[in-house]
Symmetry: C2
Subunit: 244 residues, 2 copies
């Protein structure tokens, strides 16, 4: 149960994380400009636990998602309240294995409930250590966020693509990692010193596609895409019929 309150929004003039830049250029002889942000590439990992036949995801409160819902609530007050209510029901329905996230912030008539900003995601991290390979960074994230120690040789590259092509254009590389209960070395949950408050959640394989397409549960496209990739490419090995 996330408890979010005392919310205050201020302009951000000199951020350590967001550094807007403008690039001026000529495209086919026409002068153009574009505002963008420098950012790091990233890796994400679809983790499948072969002991419990569950996917391992992370769930966390995302301030940017929450503020987006707050904006929506301001512009469409009735719709947004109904949607938030449905979302809580939806999250509770899907799986007993998932801890529900809810609880309203102070002044809930104005601020949406905290669950509106809680997002299900693949285990992921920024490529901000130039000495490490993508596989080594992925391995570290699996360990820190989800508590499994997996050798890099067991990571299978799924593919790579561009994210946020309008603003950041960073490259994301997605991996697949099979783990078992034997690889478990800690509870995961991220690095508290980095301010991470990550909950590790299990999605049973037989519920995965229902979860993926349940729009009441906020999630990234990476979750939906990778579940479908698994069903097409890995499920036959586990003698599971693909129902996508």
């Amino acid at each position: 149960m996330e408890e979010i309150n005392n919310i205050e929004v201020v302009p951000c003039t000199d951020s350590e994380y967001l550094k807007p830049l403008t690039v001026h250029y000529n495209q086919n002889g026409t002068k153009k400009s574009w505002d963008y942000m420098r950012t790091h590439d990233s890796v994400s990992v679809l983790i499948f636990n072969t002991t419990s036949h569950c996917f391992v995801l992370v769930k966390q409160f995302r301030p940017a998602v929450y503020m987006c819902e707050w904006e929506r609530a301001k512009s469409q007050p009735a719709k947004a309240a109904a949607a938030a209510e449905k979302k809580e029901e939806g999250a509770a329905e899907v799986s007993e294995a998932q801890a529900g996230a809810s609880s309203a912030g102070e002044g809930s008539s104005e601020w949406p409930p905290a669950c509106a900003g809680v997002t299900y995601e693949l285990c992921a991290g920024l490529v901000d250590k130039p000495d490490l390979t993508l596989e080594e960074i992925a391995r570290q994230e699996i360990l820190e966020e989800c508590g499994f120690d997996v050798p890099t040789s067991k990571l299978k590259r799924i593919t790579s693509y561009r994210s946020g092509v309008g603003v950041t254009g960073a490259k994301q590389t997605m991996f697949y990692a099979e783990v078992s209960d034997d690889n478990r070395v800690s509870a995961g949950g991220g690095e508290p010193k980095e301010g991470e408050l990550i909950e590790v959640v299990k999605i049973p394989l037989h519920e995965a596609m229902t979860f993926a397409y349940n729009e009441r549960i906020p999630k990234t496209m990476g979750v939906i895409f990778s579940f479908m990739w698994f069903h097409n490419n890995m499920a036959p090995r586990y003698k599971i019929s693909t129902n996508v």
Copy 2:
């Protein structure tokens, strides 16, 4: 052939498009802060032409992607040059139906070739017109970007998800639209008055999955995800074996 030159990067202090904000809040009693950006939700559309059995994508020069490659070239000069070379080969290999994008900017020893910033994407647009439904916005984008006039009743909602959960957290909704040559009313290409220089490209259905997983061709995850979705959900109707 995109020609990009006279590139200049400057700090962006007061952008019309990028407005960084900071939110201060209490999470479970702990004081936290997060820098984020307000942005619009968006829609994207997987377009399938039933006359030619091709997917219809858009291809455009994305300054943010290009600058990302420039950063990479600076930090890994040898690797990036090799990758850019491979990328051009890759783009040429995949399909004759796709026009290749290349050509180096001025000072090509420092700047990557323009093709490093040219990205294949689903037809898409921002949800910035409060009076229109998501379907109506999707319909407008299909018309403006790709030149097909499709009634909103023919749009099938695939799903929705969160993008850029760290920075923007916006909601993206993906649709599927079947078009035929009879729906074609213009060449598409975007709104020149909005500075859009969009090339409409066709990806033949039988090449789609090879295209999707060719990492040498810069593309968004939406392209890969939606092609796979089509193969799982729509291809049987066209008597096509799914090879994903």
